[in-house]
Amino acid sequence: MLILKIIAIIIITPIIGGLLTGIDRVISARMQGRKGPPILQPFYDVLKLFQKESIEVNTMHRFYVYISLIFVIFTTIIMLLGGDILLAIFALTLGSIFFVLGGYASNSPYSTIGSERELLQMMAYEPMVLLIGVGLYYADKSFFIKEIVSTSTPAIVFLPGIFIGLIYILTFKLRKSPFDFSLSHHGHQEIVQGISTEYSGKDLAIIQITHWYETIIALTLVYIFFATKSPISHIFAIIACALAFLLEIVIDNSFARVKWQLALKSTWIVTGVLGSVNLIILSFFR
């Protein structure tokens, strides 16, 4: 049974993630007054990439992308099976670090810049991610997602500040403007595809698929804040995820990329203010 569940997660997650990316592209296009591609376009892209010739600059750098994918899948499994949220965060960090190392391993100027920026993004959002885990533990006395989503009150009631912080760093996680330094969806503000410059064919397809998983992971974090033991709350949680995703698309289309200094400072300040105040207030009541 567990094996079946895991297989289902591995197969269904990227399908939903890919569909979301497709929807994202359509909505973005409508906002810019274009018609946009069909919703299944991300899948066509990836299938096409698999048929292309994969060239590389050295034999090592593709290795990191595959490992990264494996650990991101691992994270997805932990999260969707209701495992320990901190452990999931650590596994995800491991996956992201392999992705960064892949950029370094090519020793190409553009990917190295991308890697540095990706690393900077991680440094910017990591405190908030950890505080999310801490906050949920405070609110629901457990690190396990399956226990967090089976309490009687949704976590958002206790953690409004932390939730806003999550929405703030979601921009990093979904690689949306204004915080898309390492790898952008928008050609006009990118330094030659950043961290993925030297990847092509299959490897590039793998990076896309990894991103689909990551999208689901990010939205799962939103979901946890709303779900409780009553079945109706799960519908609210899904609506909340949809709204959060929509909000990120709007933000993506209404801001240009900012400088990294601003991103780092603002994220740390938002984390420090919202996260700390929320936790300190919560610690008085709990």
Partner: protein
């Protein structure tokens, strides 16, 4: 003779023999043999006494005390003499006060004090410390043989004093064994001062002006801590009528107990290089690498945190504990941030040591079962990983002629093995599923459970900074930069064997931490708190961690097959179409070919050490003063 005594005395004898022997080859063999025996002895002691522990008392205690006193006087006179000569009067001042103070105390005030029942106590915590000192320490000694062979070839301007160097390494081990096994405060104090003195001699090894200055700084700061220790002993002896550490720990934390505990904590903070006393450890990196490895991993700084861990039952909920916790937290955060700005490998390692010690101090001073569990595991994992990193950096410096992280991008070409060891060491310092992360995880849980929100937030930011500086170093190690000409050195077996073994330890310790927890930490903590301790991480999580670790080990091997079936075309890297074809230069403006230089980010403007360390030192000093005022005002609880 008792095995434990042999463990303490053997390195001492070895030190003497090594000092006398002047023939290089014979001495090298003696060093290696003695190191092996020391390691074996520590294993033997642990096997023998691990299950039930043991406490020893001696009939000839007075005689030993007099011998100790005589040696202390000799060392004090020596220190006073050299410090006067070098015009370091602060050192003179500290040395001239504390030794007479202790002698005065022993001769005139010792009448009403209860006799020491057990001078040596061996429990599970001592067992862990003995293993760390014995095994990591002796591996470093073996490495030193290989390292020093090249050291004087590369640095021919320094006077060669290898006998002296090896002798001090062993003396250091002996002092550390004494320190972690003694229960008599006078003996602990003696070993404490001995480690201070050894570190002074090691840091000053090269006798350059910089080395002399740094060694005197280390001496001044640690003697200051020693003075606090001495005053604490006098205070404890006169007011509490005991000289046993275990008796002190068993007392109720009233004001009379808290004052000496505060003094002892100050001594521990100086030794563990916490703010505002951290500058000596940064200066200590002028010493040859084996001695840095010894100072940073197995000995010296671990003595400080060991004392804090011992004192933790008295720190827990008291105001002294809160102060120590805050200082540890600030140290962790600030040192992690400063480490971002450093490109010298040894400086990064030094700041990371200070940061991790800060974390250990924080965990230990919170004093709950969970936090102590995390603290002791941190000590174990940090010792192994940090020692591996220092030794690797030492060998890399021989291979590349530089220890700048920016120059390590060619390391994959120069020595794949060394890169791999280095990556394992770095992964051990911060990545899931490796040791340090497991401990950090539990530390985080312990901070939340004990309601230290501020420390939780500090840990979150500090971890982010930690991730940044380690990953960018790793990035340099995996980047396959080309190398044209480089004189290759042989990577000598004396260097490689200890590094290899420690890399194995890093991995094995991660697999075996549930066992360490079950057989050492849980019994120790249960006995200490009188309540059954549970392992703070659930079994399902431990299993997932172990699966991750196995994946990391197996995946690279499984890729070999994939690689064989999927050969690809190799193309030059993208440089906007201007790559000249060798991946190193590009066609620049006006037809000149320019070299590509890739550098990491250091963000000096944000986390520069000057700015940060001034404010953080100030903050730490204020916190300490608040502590003093609380104690003097009798407000401390």
């Amino acid at each position: 003779m008792n095995l434990i005594l042999m463990l303490i005395l053997f390195p001492l004898v070895a030190s003497g023999i090594i000092f006398i022997v002047r023939n290089d080859r014979i001495r090298n063999i003696i060093v290696k043999v003695c190191a092996c025996i020391t390691g074996a002895l520590s294993l033997l002691v642990v096997c023998q006494y691990f299950q039930h522990g043991i406490s020893l008392s001696f009939n000839s205690e007075k005689v030993i005390d007099y011998v100790i006193m005589a040696i202390e006087v000799v060392i004090a006179i020596y220190i006073i003499f050299v410090s006067m000569k070098s015009k370091k009067y602060i050192v003179t001042f500290f040395a001239a006060i504390q030794t007479p103070l202790i002698i005065w105390f022993e001769f005139t005030q010792s009448s009403g004090i209860e006799e020491v029942h057990s001078s040596i106590v061996f429990d599970k915590l001592s067992a862990i410390m003995v293993l760390i000192v014995g095994i990591i320490g002796s591996l470093i000694c073996i490495y030193a043989v290989g390292y020093m062979r090249w050291y004087h070839v590369h640095h021919d301007n320094y006077e060669e004093r290898k006998s002296f160097f090896y002798a001090i390494l062993f003396l250091f081990l002996s002092a550390m064994f004494g320190l972690v096994l003694s229960n008599n405060l006078i003996w602990i104090y003696f070993c404490w001062e001995l480690t201070t003195f050894c570190s002074y001699l090691l840091i000053g090894y090269t006798k350059t002006q910089e080395a002399m200055n740094n060694s005197f700084r280390a001496l001044a700061i640690n003697l200051g801590g020693g003075l606090a220790f001495a005053v604490a002993i006098v205070f404890i002896g006169i007011n509490l009528k005991t000289l046993e550490l275990s008796v002190l720990i068993g007392m109720e934390p009233g004001i009379l107990v808290l004052i000496p505990v505060f003094l002892l904590s100050i001594a521990a903070l100086t030794k563990s290089a916490q703010l505002p006393f951290s500058s000596w450890l940064i200066g200590a990196m002028v010493a040859p690498t084996p001695s840095s490895a010894l100072l940073h991993s197995a000995t010296m700084v671990k003595a400080g945190v060991y004392l804090i861990i011992r004192l933790s039952p008295l720190l827990g909920q008291t105001s002294v504990g809160k102060i120590v916790t805050l200082i540890g937290g600030i140290t962790f955060l600030v040192s992690s941030l400063i480490a971002i700005t450093k490109s010298d490998a040894k400086a990064i390692l030094a700041y990371s040591t200070i940061a991790n010690l800060g974390l250990i101090v924080t965990c230990a001073s919170i004093g709950t079962q969970e936090s102590l569990w995390a603290a002791i595991l941190l000590v174990i994992f940090h010792s192994i990983s940090k020692s591996l990193l220092f030794l690797s950096v030492g060998s890399i410096e021989h291979q590349l002629g530089s220890r700048n992280v920016e120059d390590m991008d060619i390391l994959m070409h120069v020595s794949r093995k060394l890169s791999l060891y280095m990556i394992i060491g770095i992964a051990g310092m911060f990545l899931a599923p490796f040791g340090m992360l497991i401990s950090k995880w539990v530390a985080m849980k312990a901070f939340i459970d004990s309601k230290n929100i501020l420390i939780v937030i500090i840990l979150a930011y500090g971890s982010a900074a930690t991730l940044f500086y380690w990953t960018k170093w790793m990035g340099k190690l995996v980047s396959n930069a080309n190398v044209k000409k480089l004189s290759k050195h042989t990577f000598h077996i004396d260097e490689e064997l200890p590094i290899f073994l420690q890399a194995v330890f890093v991995v094995v310790s991660c697999f075996s931490f549930p066992l360490i927890s079950r057989y050492a930490l849980v019994p120790y903590l249960s006995a200490l708190f009188g309540v059954k301790t549970l392992i703070p991480i659930g079994t399902s999580d431990v299993n997932i961690m172990l699966i991750m670790l196995s994946m990391l080990l197996v995946l690279p091997i499984s890729f070999i097959h994939l690689y064989k079936n999927d050969k690809r075309r190799i193309v030059p890297i993208y440089m906007a179409g201007e790559n000249t074809g060798d991946n190193e230069t590009f066609h620049g403006a006006v037809g000149v070919d320019r070299k590509v230089e890739l550098s990491n980010w250091y963000m000096e403007n944000y986390f520069g050490s000057k700015k940060l360390s001034f404010w953080s030192d100030l903050a730490a000093i204020i916190i300490l003063f608040v502590g003093i005022i609380l104690l003097i005002g009798g407000l401390a609880r």
